[in-house]
Amino acid sequence: MSGRAWVFGDNVDTDVLAPGQYMKFGIEELSRHCLESVEPNFAKEVQQGDIVVGRRNFGAGSSREQAPEALKYLGVAVLIAESFAGLFYRNAINLGLPAIVCADSGRIRAGDQLRVDAGAGRIENLSTGETFACEPIPGHLLELLNDGGLLPHLEKRLARERGAAT
């Protein structure tokens, strides 16, 4: 997949990604406020296939999965960061949104065009010609992502188990 980079700093937290006061209104309304306190135009301008890049500890804070869900709803195709908060990382993968750990995420500039190979663990910066190695996603999580997230993955697994039982 390839797309345009939006670049953020360290510790982008879940309250910034999914502000609590809009949580009850559902994902469509909530996503309009995603990242607004640090980048007011983000929700308006982000496009299908764009890539969100953070530095350390992206997604710090709460267990609310609306944080990755809002990004996915807005069309973000993949997340890249030096590190992710553990809970956020789990939530992103479970929703089928790839989260790629890349030590060089700080070398990506806003607006760079990136091509990402999540399976191989490689990012190409088409704007600068650089290539970055990333941590490969563990096999069982890659399987989840390939199925489109935990729910479709479970659906497949349960159908298979029922098939085996009959």
């Binding site: 502000p19 609590g20 006061q21 009850k24 710090a60 804070g61 709460s62 999965e65 479970n94 929703l95």
Partner: protein
């Protein structure tokens, strides 16, 4: 969703359901969310359903559902609170929780142990919240890298259970998956008081010489009250650095900071005093049980006589819900866990985190102040 997958709950007897975030319902959306929870408890056959009696992390051990050696997960990031009971417990999101409800399974990468050792004894006017803010200052928001904190040392052994809960509760603020404390006599006493007997704590102790991912040492006896400035718990420093800061609201609330022990601390400062006229003092006891005991002990009266408004036993302002959430440019000092930008209301509001002692003292002074001035 269960229907779509043709699935059933794997074991209703291993599920506890507690309502706390959207209480009290003050609009149609909150009412709908709570209604969904109530209907689901009935349909799924979940018998351990606690509706509106307090915050899940506090109610769960109150009702005797946690014990050493358990492996448990919760649908909220502060679920590591259970680590105070020697339970390995952490928070997950809604989709992953659904997977657990259906399969009874979850994946974990075996964590490294990060030892947080506290020697010495706390002095008057300091508590677990100050200890944890000092840990946040040293480790930073991602210092623990999703590993497991274990709290050890003389100062930890001396803490009552609800203070231990505060330490484990805030393990996520340094990026840990969980925080855990080995069970001892204090743990067993609490368990017995909730009807849990026959627990052998010996298998659930750390092995001597076990490899550690990291070790951080702190001294409780020289610890000052700590305050975290906006907008991060890691932005913590001894109270004198923020003394004199103007505040509009003093909030004693949440699983982190409104348990019975927290209310006792607040009352020690508030007794016989009145909150400053420019400060709204708001108290939301973390559970009904804790509120009832506080009432019986006369603590609640001391708090109310200081001019506090009492809110229901729920997450309230800490999670940005309800009519009392912070408005534009309001400055609050709170006993809660997290002060990220906009969490408790408007993006321009400012939240300082502190202990119940410091929040109470600041309410009286009308500005951030060292509670030790009012305790001596």
């Amino acid at each position: 969703m269960l229907e779509r997958l043709g699935a059933k709950v794997w074991d209703p007897d291993k599920i506890v359901l507690i309502t706390d975030h959207y209480l009290p319902a003050h609009d149609d959306e909150s009412r709908r969310i709570l209604r969904t929870a109530r209907d689901w408890a009935r349909e799924a056959g979940v018998r351990r359903f606690y509706d509106g009696i307090g915050i899940c992390h506090v109610v769960l051990p109150e009702m005797g559902h946690l014990r050493p050696g358990m492996f448990a997960i919760g649908g909220d990031s502060h679920s590591p609170t259970g680590g105070a009971f020697g339970t390995y417990m952490f928070g997950i999101g809604a989709t992953e929780m659904f997977g657990v409800l259906v399969t009874g399974e979850i994946w974990v990468r075996v964590p490294q142990t990060v030892d947080i050792e506290w020697s010495g004894r706390l002095s008057e006017g300091t508590c677990a919240k100050d200890m944890m803010l000092a840990v946040c200052a040293k480790l930073g928001l991602d210092g623990a890298q999703y590993q497991a904190l274990q709290y050890t040392g003389e100062a930890i052994s001396a803490l009552p259970m609800q203070e231990r809960m505060t330490l484990c509760n805030m393990a996520p603020e340094v990026g840990a998956q969980t925080g855990i404390i080995a069970p001892d006599e204090v743990t067993l006493k609490w368990l017995e008081s909730t009807g849990v007997t026959g627990v052998d704590p010996s298998p659930w102790q750390g092995d001597p010489g076990a490899p550690l991912g990291a070790q951080h040492r702190f001294d409780a006896s020289s610890l000052s009250p700590y305050v975290a400035a906006p907008h991060s718990p890691a932005n913590s420093a001894p109270v004198e650095q923020h003394a004199g800061q103007h505040i509009d609201i003093a909030y004693i609330g949440a699983c982190t900071g409104a348990k019975l022990e927290d209310l006792r601390m607040a009352a020690k400062v508030l007794k016989g005093r009145r909150a400053a006229s420019n400060v709204r003092l708001i108290v939301a006891p973390a559970s009904r049980r804790d509120q009832e005991i506080a009432q019986a002990e006369g603590i609640l009266a001391a708090i109310m006589e200081a001019g506090a408004s009492l809110l229901p036993n729920a997450c309230g302002i800490c999670a940005g819900y309800g009519e009392n959430r912070l408005t534009e440019n309001e400055v609050a000092i709170t006993s809660t866990a997290r002060n990220f930008k906009g969490r408790m209301g408007a993006a321009s509001s400012q939240v300082y985190l502190a202990s119940p002692y410091t929040v109470a003292a600041s309410a009286i002074a009308g500005r951030i102040c060292d509670p030790r001035e009012m305790l001596s």
